[in-house]
């Protein structure tokens, strides 16, 4: 279908975009990559009266590490991450995995990380990744810029802490240390379909080989991405073992609350959540040279 008519405003700076958004409030939507928004508009699931196009704002087109943080601007594309010179470093393995699994390779040439976070689809990839990596989102509002932890940012399906008239500027991933690796595991019926289930993990080791910290999250397993706190607690301080991974996977299974649909039953999806977390942990540890 053809989308409902809308007013199109092209912003050339964040100031200009912010002014438009403030003026139109809840009537306006931000157009970044558009790879979720435009299909939603075509199905008339979204009918914004105003679109503020931020694709021309060069100041939001960045992907750079600065003082311990990797900052990804609002119009940096998924494919920019996939092709970044440093993405092959072990510490970035969670982002690297995800950057090659989001949607399909053509969609990734428009789609953005920040847009995906703001869309907050229950089956989104970057939401689970950002949660596992403990990222933060920088939001510009009336009273200036604020930084919101992803745990707080993701409120509910298709709902975030970006209020009416506000603009998400960038997402910040802490730069992991050298004894950190991750893994992103997703089962989908075909490339580009919504995930049946997905699991994101990131593990940091101490010098003695015990686990210093872990991020374990799920997607397509609830209203929006889920942190499996019990698994993270179980892992922290322990020496990696097959039994430990199984316990963490069981916790993920228990924590997941998927809905039955054409992709599978609740029972199947809960089991799958555990399987994907177990695979993810095993791969992250393997990347760290740990033999189980």
């Amino acid at each position: 279908m053809i989308p409902a008519a809308f007013e199109y405003l092209r912003a050339h700076s964040t100031d200009e975009a912010f002014t438009h958004l403030q003026q139109h409030g809840g009537e306006a939507r931000v157009l970044a990559g558009g790879q979720s928004l435009i299909p939603a508009m075509r199905f008339r699931l979204a009918r914004p009266a105003v679109l503020v196009d931020i694709n021309g704002i060069e100041e939001l087109n960045f992907l750079r590490p600065r003082s311990g943080v990797l900052a990804i601007g609002a119009i940096a594309r998924d494919s920019d991450i996939e092709r970044a010179a440093w993405i092959g470093e072990r510490r970035w393995s969670l982002l690297h995995d995800a950057s090659r699994m989001v949607a399909d390779p053509v969609v990734r040439q428009m789609g953005t990380v920040v847009g995906s976070l703001c869309h907050n689809d229950p089956a989104g990839d970057w939401t689970a990744v950002a949660l596992a990596a403990r990222a933060e989102v920088v939001v510009r509002g009336k009273s200036g810029q604020r930084t919101v932890a992803v745990d707080d940012f993701l409120v509910d399906s298709f709902t975030t802490r970006v209020g009416e008239g506000e603009l998400a500027l960038e997402v910040r991933f802490p730069v992991p240390d050298e004894r950190t690796a991750g893994s992103y595991q997703k089962v989908e019926r075909k490339v580009g379909d919504f995930a049946t289930a997905a699991g994101a993990v990131q593990v940091s080791l101490n010098v003695d080989g015990t686990i210093r910290g872990a991020g374990v999250t799920l997607s397509a397993a609830g209203p929006c991405a889920i942190r499996v706190e019990e698994a993270e607690r179980l892992l922290t301080g322990q020496k990696p073992s097959v039994e430990l991974l199984r316990a963490a996977a069981d916790a993920a299974s228990r924590r997941s609350s998927p809905q039955a649909d054409l992709r599978g039953s609740v029972e199947y999806k809960k089991n799958l959540a555990g399987v994907l977390v177990a695979r993810g942990l095993a791969q992250a540890l393997q990347r760290l040279g740990v033999r189980l």
């Binding site: 008519a5 199109y8 092209r10 299909p39 679109l51 390779p105 053509v106 969609v107 040439q109 428009m110």
Partner: protein, 160 residues
């Protein structure tokens, strides 16, 4: 709203509604019907065109107004001086098409792949074309076609 684009090196200025999708702009406002519309919802890849030299985009999931000021390449722009582009020649020689409906999208997605990776292996070709559906060929000959084009480019010493 006025949209100015370069399509295959030719400037087009058209006045369209903001909700006009790029695929329909190309087909109906510019008369370039080589860009096909399949699923219309970003799943099938029939409508892929190349923006600004190396970015493959699904033109059913981009508004024409977003392309304002940009350069586009469509299937009509691949051949030069009556000579098929190496990718087109590859699809011809390797029987990379049967009905031809998906072919423009396959060609342009492959074009962007070779811009970023002039010498892709089979896995990389299959991964790069994972967003393009073909219901005829079973993909084998499409992969061979892209491999032939990559070899042909390498022999000609160009990344075209």
């Amino acid at each position: 709203m006025k949209v100015n684009v370069q399509v295959n090196g030719v400037p087009y200025e058209r006045d369209v509604e903001p909700r006009t999708l790029l695929a329909y702009f190309l087909r109906e406002a510019c008369g370039l019907t080589g860009t096909h519309v399949g699923c219309d919802t970003s799943s099938c890849g029939c409508c892929v065109v190349v923006m600004d030299g190396s970015r493959a985009v699904k033109s059913c999931t981009l508004f024409a107004v977003q392309a304002d000021g940009h350069a586009l390449l469509t299937v009509e722009g691949l051949a030069e001086g009556g000579k098929l582009h190496p990718l087109q020649q590859g699809f011809w020689d390797q029987h990379g098409l049967q009905c031809g409906y998906c072919t423009p999208g396959m060609l342009l997605a492959s074009y962007a792949l070779l811009k970023h990776n002039p010498n892709p292996n089979e896995t990389e070709i299959r991964e790069a074309l994972a967003g393009n559906l073909c219901r005829c060929t079973g993909y084998q000959n499409i992969v061979k076609a892209v491999q032939q084009a990559a070899r042909s480019n390498a022999n000609a010493g160009t990344s075209q």
